[in-house]
């Protein structure tokens, strides 16, 4: 859908922020109406209703969550929760990045093989698709058990979630060139290798980036899932499990972790989007967002 020129990006950002503000207001608004009592300096507010999910336990105050970020991650620790989460996020991101690259390479390789051999495609594509019906949370403990190095196990899991969108997208992308372009290459007596590198690969870049954007979040999910059974201490996965166990004593920490996960995903996604804008800059209009 063409972007109309009047909707400049300042306006769009403005609307997005306004909506975000609305969400925050609604969040606290619900707590005003039906949450736990609010206590301040010498005053108390008793909400008239009782909305089951608005309690401080299930829906902490927004400022409590931000407050927890500044507070020490554990009693007596030097590190603030924010610092801890940044460290954990970077740790997870490193694992995810390796899985991301591995998955992308495997995905492109498989797609190339399938595009050049119909037999291979008919034989293996059903299993590529079926592989994603296997819940990775179920495979994770076994992979962690079978592979000694916990880092390798995590990377394997991240790769497993990444290769699928890349394979599927690249199959379409490598097949996307106009038949006339293929004929042109034939008229130049181009070898299959030349056709692959000079025509199919460049033509498939837009498809690759679409898949990479999905793969970015998938690799992070894979890394987080793998950290649990892998007994890795330093990543976001362990943080989630710990803070989940401690939920009753400090719900804000889990919520803060979720925000960290979301930010990690958004930043990774944003990086890919930037790369896409650079790589596809000469091709005319780059399509909008997701």
């Amino acid at each position: 859908m063409p972007r109309s020129p009047e909707r400049g990006w300042p306006r769009r950002v403005g609307i997005f922020l306004a909506f975000g503000l609305l969400v925050l207001v609604a969040w606290e608004g619900v707590k005003v109406i039906g949450g736990d009592p609010w206590r301040g300096e010498g005053w108390t507010w008793e909400p008239p209703l009782e909305i089951w999910f608005a309690s401080d336990l299930l829906l902490p105050h927004v400022w409590d969550v931000f407050g927890a970020l500044a507070a020490p991650v554990q009693r007596g620790s030097d590190e603030s929760l924010a610092q801890f989460l940044v460290g954990a996020a970077l740790y997870t991101w490193r694992e995810a990045a390796i899985g991301f690259v591995a998955g992308a390479v495997i995905g492109i390789g498989l797609a190339a093989a399938f595009v050049h051999s119909g037999l291979l495609e008919r034989a293996f594509v059903p299993y590529v698709i079926a592989s994603q019906t296997i819940p990775i949370v179920a495979l994770a403990p076994m992979i962690a058990f079978a592979v000694d190095d916990p880092l390798v196990a995590v990377v394997i899991i991240a790769t497993f979630l990444t290769f699928f969108p890349v394979t599927i997208s690249m199959i379409r992308g490598l097949r996307s060139p106009d038949p006339r372009a293929l004929e042109l290459m034939r008229s130049f007596a181009a070898s299959r290798r030349s056709i692959f590198w000079k025509l199919r690969m460049p033509a498939s870049l837009p498809y690759l980036f679409t898949a990479l954007k999905v793969a970015a979040t998938a690799s992070i999910v894979g890394a987080i899932v793998g950290e649990g059974p892998g007994q890795i201490r330093d990543g976001l996965g362990r943080a989630i499990i710990n803070f989940n166990n401690q939920y009753i004593s400090g719900p804000e920490k889990l919520w803060a972790t979720i925000i960290a996960c979301a930010l990690l995903g958004i930043i990774f996604f944003g990086l890919i989007r930037l790369a896409e804008l650079v790589a596809l800059r000469d091709r005319g209009a780059v399509p909008d967002a997701a």
């Binding site: 609307i15 819940p135 403990p141 992070i220």
Partner: protein, 284 residues
């Protein structure tokens, strides 16, 4: 630049007979079948050959045995667990689809809604479900199937919303112009042009959503739930090092997922037989 091959021609022998069609179908599916059978055979062979201990990687025969043994009753009733998980997934699918479609309608209709909601949707999609699942369990109750449904719904919502929005908005501009030349109202355009256009997109999203809903349910169970669900069976059997049961559960989950997916494919054949992808019999 079409090679002039006029369709006037002398029709030759009758259309391919049943035998021919069967051979073509067979040839098409044979490679995958060979890989399946071959793969299982090699797996079994390797396990036996190297005497891999069962608790590291069980042989297909051991998995089959575990499947049969634990099907009905016992510590890990597989069939009942699969049913319960499927129930959660289906519930989540319905909820996520309804919400996704509703929001898609809003986003397609009002550009402001799109600018407001889309970045949030993208952000929400970026949150690994693994982080949200414990919160939902806490909200709705760990043993309550609704908590798993909501997790599944969250996973389902995004692809459904994105695809339906695309389907409602990515209409041929010339089709819209045609309708405007008939002075058709937005509501009429919606009914006669956008909705039919959106149907294939919706079904594509549904195919992805079925697998996601199952995964969502199982991820939720991973963090806690009643014990007769696939997720719990996996966790408990794995910690007891009974990997043959774990694999049997996984197999069951995968098969359920595939069956769920194929149900949508069948639905596609019924609802949009005219669509190019359905005609050419492409997968996915």
């Amino acid at each position: 630049m079409t090679a002039a091959a006029p369709s006037v021609g002398v029709p030759l022998p009758p259309t391919p007979g049943v035998a021919e069609k069967l051979t073509t179908t067979l040839r098409h599916h044979l490679p995958a079948f060979v890989v399946l059978v071959g793969g299982i055979a090699i797996w079994e062979l390797l396990i036996r050959l190297f005497e891999v201990r069962a608790f590291i990687l069980p042989a297909p025969s051991a998995i089959a045995e575990a499947l049969v043994e634990n099907w009905g009753a016992g510590r890990w009733p597989l069939f009942a667990s699969a049913q319960a998980t499927l129930f959660e997934a289906a519930g989540g699918l319905v909820i996520g689809t309804v919400i996704g479609v509703a929001i898609a309608f809003g986003v397609a209709r009002w550009a402001n809604a799109r600018d407001a909601v889309l970045p949030f949707a993208v952000a929400a999609n970026a949150i690994p479900i693994i982080a949200i699942a414990p919160i939902f369990n806490a909200w709705f109750g760990v043993t309550n199937p609704v908590s798993k449904m909501m997790i599944a719904a969250l996973l389902v919502f995004f692809p459904v919303m994105i695809n339906v929005t695309r389907g409602l908005t990515q209409v041929e501009p010339s089709a819209l112009e045609l309708m405007r030349s008939y002075a058709a109202s937005e509501w009429t355009i919606l009914r006669k042009v956008r909705l039919p256009n959106a149907l294939p997109f919706f079904l594509t999203a549904l195919k992805v959503a079925t697998t996601l809903s199952l995964i969502g349910a199982i991820v939720g169970e991973y963090f806690g739930g009643s014990s007769t669900v696939i997720g719990r069976v996996v966790v408990q059997s794995a910690s007891a090092l009974r990997f043959d049961v774990t694999w049997a559960a996984i197999l069951l989950a995968a098969v359920t997922g595939i069956a769920f997916y194929l149900a949508i494919v069948a639905l596609e054949r019924v609802l949009i037989p005219w669509h190019a992808s359905v005609r050419s019999g492409e997968p996915g």
